[in-house]
């Protein structure tokens, strides 16, 4: 118990929140790196996954990429970057490692989301004379949205959690508070840092769940109500089933 009160004291000390090594600066670094990685990964993986899903091809590719992603330790990837010439490129190595890590869940969920749209609905839309593009925009994308959001959520949490590891190779971010505490045998600081990191990960998860609900309500009204409801129900089901595939993977 003593450690926890000490950790609380550490957190309550204003001086620990300011300056180069302070919580504020580390939090900004953490969010910057995670945000950049998530945006880049989405820009690559979402269009590709949606397109492959629309074509109905590349299922093995999506699944294999997802499985391979789980086997690669991010710590090792980061370390490889840090002993290469890239080590002088600031946050680039971290962002690249995180992008590589975020692509599998985004790609797989986007692909599966489009693929799992009821074939009968797709056929009906085709029968109504919709072109490939129309079918994608009006039918497949809205129905795949819940699955897409599940992927985005799992990728975001994964990235925020994994960005912590940047500290293990000497880079910034909230993990740095933990490793700095380790180096000075300051257990209260280690625990305080861990609490901060865990709280941020949970906060991001919560914020994304809320945004997802809100988005679902808005999109539900814009699109066909029945279709979107059926879609979100299906998405919730598949989302549940797929949850074990999530990986905070900070390996």
């Amino acid at each position: 118990m003593g450690v926890l009160t000490d950790a609380w004291t550490w957190l309550a000390t204003g001086a620990h929140w300011t300056g180069e090594d302070g919580v504020g600066h580390r939090l900004a670094e953490h969010l910057y790196v995670s945000g950049a990685a998530l945006l880049l990964a989405s820009a690559v993986a979402l269009p590709l996954g949606l397109w492959l899903g629309h074509l109905g091809r590349g299922g093995t590719l999506a699944v294999n990429i997802s499985n391979a992603g789980r086997a690669v330790p991010v710590f090792a990837v980061l370390a490889l970057f840090m002993v290469s010439p890239l080590r002088n490129a600031g946050y680039l190595p971290t962002v690249i490692a995180l992008v590589l890590f975020a692509i599998p869940p985004l790609l797989t969920h986007a692909y599966v989301g489009v693929r799992e749209v009821d074939r009968a609905v797709v056929e009906a839309a085709r029968g109504m004379g919709m072109s490939g593009g129309q079918l994608f925009r009006a039918v497949e994308l809205p129905l795949a949205r819940p699955m897409l959001m599940t992927g985005l959520r799992s990728a975001a949490v994964q990235v925020v959690a994994t960005a912590t590891l940047a500290a293990m190779v000497g880079l910034g971010g909230l993990g740095r508070i933990i490793t700095a505490g380790f180096n000075t045998y300051d257990t209260p600081q280690v625990v305080a840092g861990a609490v901060l990191v865990a709280a941020l990960a949970l906060l991001v998860e919560g914020a994304l769940v809320a945004a997802d609900r809100l988005g679902g309500r808005l999109f539900g009204r814009a699109g066909g109500r029945a279709g979107s409801r059926a879609g979100s129900r299906a998405g919730r089901r598949t989302g549940d089933r797929d949850a074990p595939q999530q990986d905070n993977g900070n390996g």
Binding site: A76, M82, P244, Q245
Partner: protein, 238 residues
């Protein structure tokens, strides 16, 4: 001479490194395998009764699944640090953290496997006079094996990757080698340890896949039959 130089020139791939540090590499790999194996086995031991409990009392399903998912959200560096006051710098700390991560995947795997058992099969076994224990052990468990093994494979592969983070407290197997090599930018050691990690994950996955095939012979395609028709056909044609 040229080979000995690769340690001096700090090449990515260095035969001399593999030769001189073989013992160190073996030790680290064995520690990695040990920590992973203990974590996954303990995970199964904890997850199995937990899944059975959830199945028997569906009301507990929500809280149990939410709790394991919550644990999964906590970053590994934070998880190991939070357990530090409880365990100190020990392997138990790393193993506990890894077990907590494996739980999410394993509990869901066991539940999905048991849910996939057809209700008619269960009814038939009950009608034949199978008690709950015998039903679980002789009917449900074998039928649940594919989904169960999928969960175990997934948990094993991600545990192997996560073990490297245990180097934070000096119990990370191959992760230790990576951490040791970082300050001196020792490329050969970082690359070798990283490659060994991935190879370990692939090997474990294939091993478990083989085990699954062995345990579920009824899921295998009927190979002898195919061979027989193939052998017959030329005779027919000729």
């Amino acid at each position: 001479m040229a080979e000995a130089n690769c340690l001096v020139t700090n090449d990515w791939i260095c035969g001399e490194y593999l030769r001189t540090r073989a013992q160190e590499l073996t030790d680290a790999t064995l520690q990695h395998i040990g920590i992973t194996a203990v974590s996954v086995l303990l995970g199964i031991v904890v997850a199995f009764p937990l899944a059975l409990l959830v199945r028997a009392r569906p009301r507990l399903a929500g809280p149990v699944l939410a709790l394991t998912t919550l644990l999964y959200t906590i970053p590994s560096l934070a998880m190991f640090s939070l357990l530090l006051p409880l365990f100190g710098l020990s392997s138990a700390l790393v193993v506990t953290g890894l077990v907590l991560y494996a739980l999410t995947i394993l509990v869901r795997g066991v539940l999905a496997g048991l849910a996939a058992v057809p209700a008619e099969t269960r009814e038939a076994a009950r009608g034949m006079g199978y008690g709950p224990g015998r039903l679980l052990w002789e009917v449900e468990l074998p039928l649940a094996l594919p989904a169960l093994m999928a969960g175990i494979r997934m948990a094993t592969v991600s545990t192997i990757a996560l073990t490297t983070v245990g180097s934070l407290v000096g119990r990370g197997g191959l992760g230790n080698l990576i951490e040791d090599a970082l300050p001196t930018f020792f490329k050969a050691q970082v690359l070798t340890a990283a490659v060994l990690c991935v190879l370990l994950a692939v090997a474990a996955d294939l091993l478990l896949l083989g085990l699954q095939r062995l345990l579920t012979p009824w899921n295998r395609p009927p190979r002898p039959a195919r061979r027989r028709t193939a052998a017959v056909r030329p005779g027919e044609g000729g």
